[in-house]
Amino acid sequence: MEIHRFEKLWLAASLVLILGFVATVVYGAVGAGVAMVNDDGGTVDPGDITASENFREPGVYEAGDGEYAVYVEARQFSFRPGSSQPIEVPADTRVTFYVTSPDVTHGFSVVGTNINTMVVPGQVARITTVFEEPGTYHIVCHEYCGAAHHNMQGQIRVVDQSQFDASATGPAAIDDPAAEVSD
């Protein structure tokens, strides 16, 4: 079979391109450490998520040395915590979100970042991330969940480690002007 030299050229180039795509994804997973959201978060009883030890009182908890766990209940049409009071986490620290829903499928998307997951009733979505700088992030529900879906939003306040107090996740800590550092 005779193949024109131009054809050989662009066949080779497209193979290189495909290899480049694969290499990029491998680099993302191995080099940059980008992870996928999977089912490792486990399950809870969607009929009564408070029966699960972790969701008895959703909020921010210290999960170990310099690591924090945030338990969030997404329900029609709010995040708890997140909507009526912002989630406050320290900067430059590993933070793991555990999100679940007691009613319908919701979304948990931190606007302008790569953090987003579907929140399926009974399934705990687990995402670990690091917020490098203090600032305010917004959470939206990006899975249509009902009539007031457009109102379902929340906030994450990332504060400097020195100002973070794990026990102060209430409104008092939010009013702290020092926490109002924008990125």
């Binding site: 497209s14 391109l17 450490g33 049409f77």
Partner: protein, 390 residues
Amino acid sequence: MASAPARAQNGFGGWLDDVDNYDGTVTDMTGQSEVTVEVGAEGNGGPFAFAPPAVRVSPGTSIVFEWTSDNHNVLVEEQPDGADWAGEESLENTGYTYSHTFETEGVYKYFCQPHLAVGMKGVVVVEAAQGDGGDGGDGGGGVPAEYGDWFTDSAPGGAVDNYDGTTVDRTGQSEVTVEVGADGNGGTFAYAPPALRISPGTTVVFEWTSDNHNVVVEEQPEGADWAGEEALENSGYTYSHTFETEGVYKYLCEPHLSLGMKGAIVVGPAPGAAGGDGDGGGDVQAPTGPPEGVTVWEVLAFGLGGAALLSPFGVYYYQQRRELPVGESGRDEHGAIREAPEEDLEEIGHDEYDPWGTLSLIVVYFLILVGLWIFMYFVEFLGNGPTVIG
């Protein structure tokens, strides 16, 4: 008396809607032993009316139907359970009279068969004298607080936690407040009070005490025009409606129906208690029923109608397609494919021709792809932290 105009407004479920000589008032003849209704009075574009078209009488009253023009009859469309009014089926002429004594309380609808199309229809309401507070003790009046299965598990949304079986009585007040989003049903997902009794004419103020709630009317008495508040509103919002028509109103919060956020309002005096205020003694409940929806057959009929309307276009294009001229179709007059005319050919070697145009096009495609690749993955994705790392 308060209930009389309210009920008259509803036109008896549409029965009197096309009756020209019915102006919304029910002629009150209660307390009389004999009442006359003219058959074939002026109205509906000729001598085609019952006069008065709607009349209220006490139980035991004889109504004398008096023919004032020719060729009319009196057919019964609807009457209360247990009533035995047969009407007068034969067509009669001027001067004829026919009478019937109405014993059973309720609403009787009747019409003239030959002149039904022009609106010759009437209504007889039989009820105990109004304002007769003295005999209210008979318990025949009032609106019972009957919610069916509305507050139970078998209704949509399940049981309502903050409903304990009692209906809060606020009759006699001009304004009553209902909290929307009060504590209950596992959060701030309740109406408080969930069940409420008010007098006709009372304004109910719905006051939002938490966010993302609305008030959707599930069921209301026939003739009532409560629209609810469909918009999702937040804490601090208020909305009010004045309830005129007696009966039971059921409403719900759409987003939180599944949690049991439901409520009901009973408009009218409680049965038995009615006589005390001389207001609703011996009231008759207006008939209620579910609103009529669009049936499958109506949808099907519209669909078929639409297809029928569009079919000429389909036929037109089909014919156009078939009628391509012979020369343009690539076939000869017998339908066989024509041979292509022979052309002069010059053969060149395999590598003698270089498709530079194709090459440059492909190079441009590659550059676009590489650009998108780098921009999307390295700039847009990896550069857009924070990223999920575990």
